[in-house]
Amino acid sequence: MQHVRTSGAGEEVAALDVAGISHSYGPKRALQDVSFSIAPGTFTVLLGLNGAGKTTLFSLISHLYGTRRGSIRIFGHDVSRASGEALRRVGIVFQARTLDLDLSVHQNLSYHASLHGIGGHQARQRIAALLDTVNMQGRQHDKARSLSGGQMRRIEIARALLHRPSLLLLDEATVGLDIQSRAGILATIRKLVETEGIGVLWATHLIDEVEDGDHVVVLRQGDLVAKGKVADVVATSGASSIRDAFSRLNRIETSGIAEMSP
């Protein structure tokens, strides 16, 4: 994965640049010297089993946790030093459901729009457009409580897109959904990457969500054990497929990071 956007000074700017991030919960190490970057307009899968450190990494990127070692930059803005500028460029779908169940779909989305300084007519327009995007038009007055898991997830995706982010973070966005809903959500996100040039970091432990053209970052117990394009990760780990590579990377001790960026 390489930086592709060029700043005015001629320097390359990544959508997300994670450099030397380490984090621990007391004595328990959660992330150890994790570094990678993703380019704008690419779909990157953050792969790891439960406990690999995916959610910790998301919490650090979204500034819910303070960065203790290393740095995280979003389109060049340091998350610790310029969190506001960085967060304006990011849309986040958390692993846990975060809709307010007592409020309607429209009220949930309006609230989120206001948290990004978007109000009034502009907010209503965005909400209508995005409900259409996630195929939930006509449901804006439904209570969030009345929605199915898949529908809630779609509303959360619409919510994450309200402020026109350039980078979308999704943490286990398809957990608990049926195959059809998973496929639909994944297809929409991929379409956003393709047509709108939004960079996506898609955290999952479900290997079947990875496609051949994707970039992957593989975490195992807090260590980054592989990163690069799918074909390169497969080749370097001597596997026959990404599923095989993921299994190997999670079973076999590796001597270092398999670097496969072109």
Partner: protein
């Protein structure tokens, strides 16, 4: 029920260049947080009813029963003897603010456990602004509850001077801010929702009873000098007195100073507690979390 598949259609989502946040954007954000708090309150009818019933029970039953037992001499701001119901009304207003402040604390712990808090904390606005907005929203709801109580009390015959209903508003606001800030600070210390019962036992009840809400300070001093000193160290004491004087268009400057000072202190502590690099989040990380 499974959700139907989502066809991959996409609206115009082109990333935009961001303008600097101006006053208008801050106001939009503040309005959004206040509206959400009000909507949540309106949707939780039980919360509204219980917030109204609690002080009314004290007014209708407790005060009526103790009217003959507890005599209240002429003490400022009263210029004549007043009914016991009249005396405890400012304390009951304070009680509503106290419970509401702690309720907002409970709601923040709940939001944090349920994940809703994250949507607030990942907003690009400064965290101090988000927390103050959340407090203002809580205070707006609290004040609405106080006025609902005062309307019922008015029909019960417990009336303040007409202008008092207006002059008490700043005192309610400031006292509400102090108690909401305290609630916010406490919410940063509570790890789990189940621990909230401790707040009831160690904050609400001692705070309420060790104050002039139910009996004048001079009576407490006569009964127990130690309890009197505890009352003087209790910020809620000053909130009650501030409200009491404000009902009569007067300012108790000591109370105003203490309440304003405590508001700033609790607010600063809450902002530090919710700073990801210094407070709450750091400690939460240390105690574990979902990796």
């Amino acid at each position: 029920m499974s959700a139907p598949a989502m066809p991959p259609k996409v609206a115009a989502l082109t990333p935009v260049k961001f303008e600097q946040f101006g006053l208008h954007h801050y106001l939009v954000c503040l309005k959004g947080i206040v509206v959400r708090e009000c909507l949540r309150f309106l949707h939780q009818r039980e919360r509204f009813i219980s917030s109204l019933v609690r002080p009314l029970v004290w007014l209708f039953i407790f005060a009526a029963g103790f009217r003959q037992v507890l005599g209240v001499s002429i003490i400022p701001p009263y210029k004549t003897y007043v009914l016991y119901e009249v005396y405890i009304t400012p304390g009951l207003c304070g009680m509503i603010l106290l419970f509401s402040g702690m309720q907002s604390s409970l709601s923040m712990v709940y939001d944090r456990e349920m994940g809703n808090m994250r949507t607030l904390l990942v907003s690009p606005f400064p965290r101090w602004f988000l927390l103050i907005s959340k407090m203002l929203a809580g205070v707006a709801v609290s004040i609405a509850q106080v006025y609902a109580f005062l309307i019922v009390a008015w029909f019960w015959g417990v009336k303040a001077p007409p202008l008092g209903y207006l002059t008490v508003l700043p005192a309610l606001f400031l006292s509400g801010m102090m108690l909401c800030a305290l609630g916010m600070l406490l919410s940063s210390m509570i790890k789990q929702l189940e621990n909230f019962a401790g707040i009831m036992n160690f904050v609400i009840f001692p705070g309420y009873f060790a104050s002039p809400a139910l009996y004048p300070l001079w009576r407490i001093q006569e009964a127990s000098p130690l309890l009197y000193k505890i009352c003087l160290a209790n910020p809620f004491t000053y909130a009650v007195e501030l409200i009491r004087f404000a009902f009569y268009g007067q300012v108790d400057w000591l109370s105003l100073g203490v309440v304003a000072g405590c508001t700033l202190l609790f607010l600063a502590a809450a902002i530090i507690a919710y700073d990801p690099s210094r407070g709450l989040m750091t400690r939460k990380q240390d105690t574990g979390g979902n990796a």
